[in-house]
Symmetry: C2
Subunit: 236 residues, 2 copies
Amino acid sequence: MSRKTSALRKKAKVPAAVSAGYRKGEETRQRILDAALKAFGAASFKAVTTRRISEAADVSLPTLQYYFGDKEGLYRACAETIVERYRGHMAMAGTRAAAPLKTRCVGEAARAQLKAVIEALGGFLVGSKEAQLWTPFVHRELRDPGPAFEILYENLWRPGVELIARLIARIWDRPDDDPDARIRALLLIFGLLAFQPGRSLSLRTMRWSSIGPEELAKVLSSLDAQIDAIAAPVST
Amino acid sequence: MSRKTSALRKKAKVPAAVSAGYRKGEETRQRILDAALKAFGAASFKAVTTRRISEAADVSLPTLQYYFGDKEGLYRACAETIVERYRGHMAMAGTRAAAPLKTRCVGEAARAQLKAVIEALGGFLVGSKEAQLWTPFVHRELRDPGPAFEILYENLWRPGVELIARLIARIWDRPDDDPDARIRALLLIFGLLAFQPGRSLSLRTMRWSSIGPEELAKVLSSLDAQIDAIAAPVST
DNA sequence: CTGAATATCTATCAAGTGATAGAGTTTCTG
DNA sequence: CAGAAACTCTATCACTTGATAGATATTCAG
């Protein structure tokens, strides 16, 4: 009877795998997912072939279909996995960051919080080995929306932007959904993204050979300066 | 004998077309190029099929090979075309912007220049109908380098970053190649890019239905504020 | 230990892809 | 008006790709 684990498996035609009773191929499923994550991180949906993934995962081609229905299902599963793992990674920083929103922190307190959030985000994006892998996937999908857009937008992008926009709004002592704060948040985040999705460009521009703690520190310092300089806009 | 027009045509096996003496299919070549530009703008290299391009250009498949050798040649030709047309579009702003570098403009003068450049760039990226088309192409290629990376990097990215970095350096009265200025330039440019390559994300975030003159003005206003806030960094 | 559910494999398919061969058609030079 | 060069087309190939069929192996509850 094999009940589907989580969400509906695309066409549900082959709910397959990871049933209730006994499992063992769960490991296989994970192996495939890892290979897919790496592959889709490195190239576009079309450019990645299911065959190569199956080879990397050391399974036979049909095994992919068995576990994920079709290529798109696998792709979607990757997005879900990223969201899950991201939550794990940012748990600490996330808690530390979401809290002050409930609190009545404004002005300088918000500014400090914002710096902390940016630092955490920067540290994750640049420092984490896994992020290195997902980032291309996430941004490729976000920039030209595909089957996984909604998942990533709702669970990664939106919460992130929302958080930062609110903190900026608090610095200005404005309502949480202030449009100017949103713009500012976008500018800030995309700036940071220069050093991850845009890493290859930044490396060349800066004549760095890699972005380590030292380089990251310089970037964060620049971002801090930018945050320090955030003052209430002239008009709305 | 048909001598090749410009650069070596990939394998030069089929230098073809656009020879010296008489031509007429130059128009066809252009038609193909336009179709390819649009196609490669909308999807990745792999995702675009030469057939679809040929259909859009209303020619037969082999015609593409005749003019551009192979798919990659066509792709490269697109990059070259973008560079050319970009030069045309930014001629005024470019001249207006490159001049002050020779001049001994510093401090506030440089700041004003920087604003002008950003405004010009923003206006082009968001306003121009063509930019709408190229931007995805350019950034996809720049973010994960393909056959056209060098062309685009050297002719679009590098000059742009260089210009802006220098202007920032002048605001600080620092040497032209100041690393902090470079970082700042990257942050600034990527921020602006939020509203073009990252357009779909920004639209959703801002709850805008499009980015017209009104929206652009708000973005530029925010960028201006950011430029106004550029003060010499604490340390190097 | 047995048998049903699960897991995985070896072909094999049908569709689509980039590219070429080679024959016609048009276009301009002399 | 030749006739050579440029242009464009109709097949057709060789190959890749995602997916399925159907047999086989594995696993675990009882």
